[in-house]
């Protein structure tokens, strides 16, 4: 049932991937959050068992040495203002059969050349299949409507993800049924009444 897969992909793409940097993970001094900690009675039972075990075998310090875990210190929210960056689509894989899953990601920026910051009221990154990137404006009306939450029946729109305020995006699509060959995939940035723009495009090889 490919519709199950499509529904899974649709749910999975509903929220933007948090824009955490690896440095934040590597620098995190961490304690498990409260939900990851074992309940106190389980700890007491473990310590009791260790104590009994130690007494039984004459080990002196079995219950000692309870080391406090490191503290969780990872910023969880995206920043409101992202660094200025060039559009840069990462695609993986760039070749595959119909039905295979393709991941696309890239940075998002809101700072203009003059230093002013623009964050639209709505914004989506959309993935369009087999449209000519040089004349992407032919679908801009549908792209804008989709970013405003209107249902789109154009099956060339493969996937979309809401990105307002995020500093990067990541979205997946399932390769449509198509004969083997090279197809263009266009990534649009659509921001409701603020308009739409071509973010990037690449060729995907259906095997």
């Amino acid at each position: 049932m490919s519709e199950i897969r499509d529904a899974l992909i649709a749910i999975a793409n509903r929220y933007p991937v948090p824009s955490t940097e690896p440095d934040e993970i590597m620098g995190a001094e961490n304690t498990p959050p409260s939900w990851a900690r074992r309940p106190r009675h389980v700890l007491i039972a473990i310590l009791l068992c260790l104590g009994l075990f130690a007494m039984g075998f004459g080990v002196g310090n079995a219950a000692g040495g309870g080391r406090a875990g490191p503290q969780l210190n990872v910023p969880l929210r995206v920043s409101e203002q992202c660094d200025s960056a060039a559009a840069d689509v990462s695609v993986s894989p760039s070749i595959g059969p119909p039905g295979s899953l393709v991941d696309i990601s890239g940075p998002i920026y809101y700072t203009h050349a003059d230093g002013s910051v623009w964050v639209p009221a709505q914004e989506q990154i959309q993935v369009w299949w087999d449209i000519d990137p040089s004349s992407w404006t032919q679908v801009s009306g549908a792209a804008i409507a989709a970013s405003e939450g209107q249902p789109i029946t154009d099956d060339r729109l493969l996937a979309s993800v809401d990105t307002r305020g995020a500093c990067s995006f990541s979205v997946s699509f399932s390769v449509p049924e198509a004969p083997p060959g090279s197809y263009s995939v266009s990534v649009l940035r659509a921001a409701g009444t603020d308009g739409a723009a071509l973010y990037g495009a690449f060729a995907f090889e259906v095997s």
Partner: protein, 172 residues
Amino acid sequence: MAVSRIMTRAMASSDSTAEFAAFFRAQQGPLFRALLVVTRQPELAEDLSQEAFVRVWRHWGRVRSMAKPDGYLFRTALHLFFDHERAKGRRVEVDPGVHDRIAQIEAKSFLERELLALPSRQRAALVLTELLGYKSTEAARILRIRAGTVRRLSSLARRRLRDRIGEEDEGA
């Protein structure tokens, strides 16, 4: 000699950091999206994803040499979630049957609503095999269950979805 040893160690450490950064960038999206479907809660998915990466980084020296470091990451994240479910005193195997219990993700179709209403282990099995493309043997290692159990969970989920779609069509 000592200087060269220190330099070698520093280079190895920097390689390790770069490797982890590449691993993080490649897996951040798939992990978050998988957790989003399994947990149904964006904030929990984000927290679990970060906690799992922190744990993987802590053991990166060992994890990087594994044949499937991503499998270790997904195993860590999903078991953090199952521990979380247990800590809340909820039995994750019981079919909730109630759509709006804790779901925070908005379902936009009947099928999505039914997917989000599946028991979390059935949803996890579907996510691993259907969304992420793991074989049932690989998914079994991640979920720490038998491959046959993964197939059974996926098949139960599919049957339930088929039945519910059938009921919906009859009712329409």
